[in-house]
Subunit: 196 residues, 2 copies
């Protein structure tokens, strides 16, 4: 895909905005089964042929929704401590999983569409990459040992939120971001995530 | 539901066995969308009316698959250390998530059927309850502080597996059970999961 196609401006950007908005609205309101090129074309007011040519199918639409979501300037907050940084990230994840129906709808869709699954995986991987900075800062401050595996630590800090809120469908517990962050930060300080 | 209906013997048990086997085989081979009372009746050789009367719909079939899976004598192994016990449990989870297609198929189905989601939640909750014993033993051995929240510790130990293998769809990493167990056990020893 060329840069121009990936970051279109003007009319192309407007078309993409309308199509992706329509995809998201349809997914959240009526679920994956209701999604189709025809429905999204109708809802967005963009010609069916255009939608088909550019996104091909439902998988292509969902993948582009996630590509677009990834295309922001988000960076993890810098609170001054590892545990504080992890709590802040976890609070954002918690809000997304409990207050933004689209997040869980996209996760659910990833079980239906291989393309959506791949895009979701790429989205998360890139988010974890961006969070590596908070692990590096903690190493530089001497909070955790050099050689700490950033990815392992970040998975430990965030996985309990996905497990509880998405898979176990537990009632949201306001302490969840703190508990998960504390567990991971404590283990990291004790060297549990250093690569051997 | 009466005890007799829940734990039927003889012909009733045979019918249940055939219907649940057919449900599982159909789910694994052809996916959730292919499941219906008619298909399961056909595949099991059990009369449609019987299947409909007893299980009602696809949600009822999946819920009973999970109810039956829960009806075993499984207990976590006793290896003599907290970390060893958690590694053993994690290895079992990893095997289920990577080698037994039905596990991920049931998780995927939980995004389609509220009844399957509720049954899966009940299944996991009961499994975590059974694992509370390994936390109690660790407290009794003095490995971790009294007042350690068993559920929080068990979620920390197991959630990374579900996150990596189910949601992130990472390639199976043979060290995953050990890494997740070590993180949770280290945090528990340092008191990260004691209730305040």
């Amino acid at each position: 895909m060329t840069d121009r196609a990936r970051r279109p401006g003007g009319r192309s950007a407007t078309v993409r905005r309308r199509v992706l908005d329509a995809t998201l609205a349809q997914l959240v309101q009526h679920g994956y089964d209701s999604l189709s090129i025809d429905v999204v074309a109708e809802r967005s007011g963009v010609h069916r042929t255009t939608v088909y040519r550019r996104w091909r199918d439902v998988g292509g639409l969902l993948a582009d929704v996630l590509n677009e979501a990834a295309d922001d300037a988000w960076l993890p907050p810098d609170t001054g401590t590892l545990e504080g940084d992890l709590v802040a990230v976890n609070r954002e994840i918690c809000t997304a999983l409990t207050d933004e129906p689209v997040t869980v709808a996209l996760i659910a869709a990833s079980f239906r569409s291989g393309q959506a699954a791949e895009a979701l995986r790429a989205f998360w991987t890139e988010r974890y990459d961006r969070c590596a900075g908070l692990v590096r800062r903690a190493v530089e401050r001497g909070e955790i040992p050099a050689g700490t595996d950033a990815y392992r630590l970040l998975i430990a800090a965030t996985a309990p939120l996905y497990h509880e809120l998405v898979l176990l469908r537990s009632a949201a517990d306001a302490r969840l971001p703190e508990i998960a962050a504390r567990g991971a930060a404590t283990a990291a300080r004790a060297g549990a995530f250093t690569t051997r």
